[in-house]
Symmetry: C2
């Protein structure tokens, strides 16, 4: 197995955690998103969307979109399971994962930040406010759901790690990068810190990948 | 089965199509997103994220996030299948669905449009440009992937309808609402028109739901 990623990519981080948890060896190549490597013709031929990660399992075209890759790994390497068996619990774990991966993260990726400043001419401070707003909205949604919905346990869904936790952690690590006040999100913090104390998560951490600032 | 939705919601549309294709009877209650019904305490108690659809199958809390609901329906009512069996084909169908549901749609939902105009003070024309840009980016991504990737057939993935087509159609119907030039997206058009000619899709169409303008 092989992946093209980037040290900072939250999406690549999620896949890296799953591979570690399932004990699957993989190689990762890192491209430079700030230099625009994702828009180079060579990479566009791999993923026309120009986004990481691009994942390869043997022959064939790249698999893309982190949640689709997580489901692929779950279906091809079911143990240890990263989704509950019971359908409604499974749906909740996926829903929490999507609250991060669909409704929060896509709002502050590089292409969106560039469009706001370069195309709409938004001042840098307004772009920063945008970023903090949607980042905070993602955290607030998780906190509200984790405290308000039955189903939360040691982890997002019950007492076993699931895709929801991988997404939660991929959001959480941004709080340090973006300097976000984490006080309003104690449940998110509790789960994130629990996960990040585990080797499979810690080894996958963005700051431990090639290309990360020292 | 029961759903709280809105005539215009692309996410509710996707779930409605799946229920029709699987022949599952359901009741849908429609709330008014323009009036802010999704932020009322009663609805927030159902979905703290304040978003539709909220889906109920018997007892228990609502299931949320359209893709999680689609997977739930697939797991609990496998026939007719709306995902291929082969893992890589399945991953590609999911990836195309997520290119719409994660990377395009969340960028122009009401909460984002309101933040741009009400909080960042963006002129209405700039907000419209934003909307057209990300809507067009979603269509362009689909067109590039459908023409460039092996796997495309009569539908997005091979010759059977999958979650990818449900998401493609949920994007496509916005072209009429937003007055978008569809000429650059002939493959998206071909698949969308094929799907929309089928009863299960046609009955689910936003303009045929209560609350839609005449």
């Amino acid at each position: 197995m092989r992946m093209i990623g980037n040290w900072r990519s939250a999406a690549a981080f999620r896949v890296r955690i799953a591979l570690n948890l399932k004990g699957l060896p993989f190689e990762e190549t890192f491209i430079d998103l700030d230099a625009g490597d994702q828009h180079a013709p060579g990479f566009r031929a791999i993923n026309p969307q120009g986004a990481v990660p691009a994942f390869f399992d043997g022959d064939g075209p790249a698999l893309t979109q982190s949640l689709a890759i997580l489901d692929y790994l779950e279906e091809t390497h079911p143990e240890p399971a990263l989704l509950p068996r019971e359908p409604k619990a499974r749906a909740r774990a996926r829903s929490l994962a999507q609250a991060v991966a669909c409704d929060s993260h896509p709002l502050y990726v590089p292409r969106v930040r560039h469009y706001l400043t370069d195309d709409l001419g938004l001042p840098r401070e307004a772009m920063q406010a945008w970023l903090r707003h949607w980042f905070g909205t993602g955290l607030a949604t998780l906190e509200a759901r984790l405290t308000g919905e039955p189903g939360t346990g040691r982890y997002c869904q019950g007492d076993a790690v699931s895709h929801a936790d991988l997404c939660l952690v991929s959001l959480w690590v941004g709080t340090a990068i973006f300097g976000v006040d984490t006080a309003p999100y104690p449940t998110v913090r509790r789960i994130a810190e629990d996960c990040l104390s585990q080797d499979a998560f810690a080894r996958a951490h963005p700051t431990r990948q090639p290309g990360a600032p020292a």
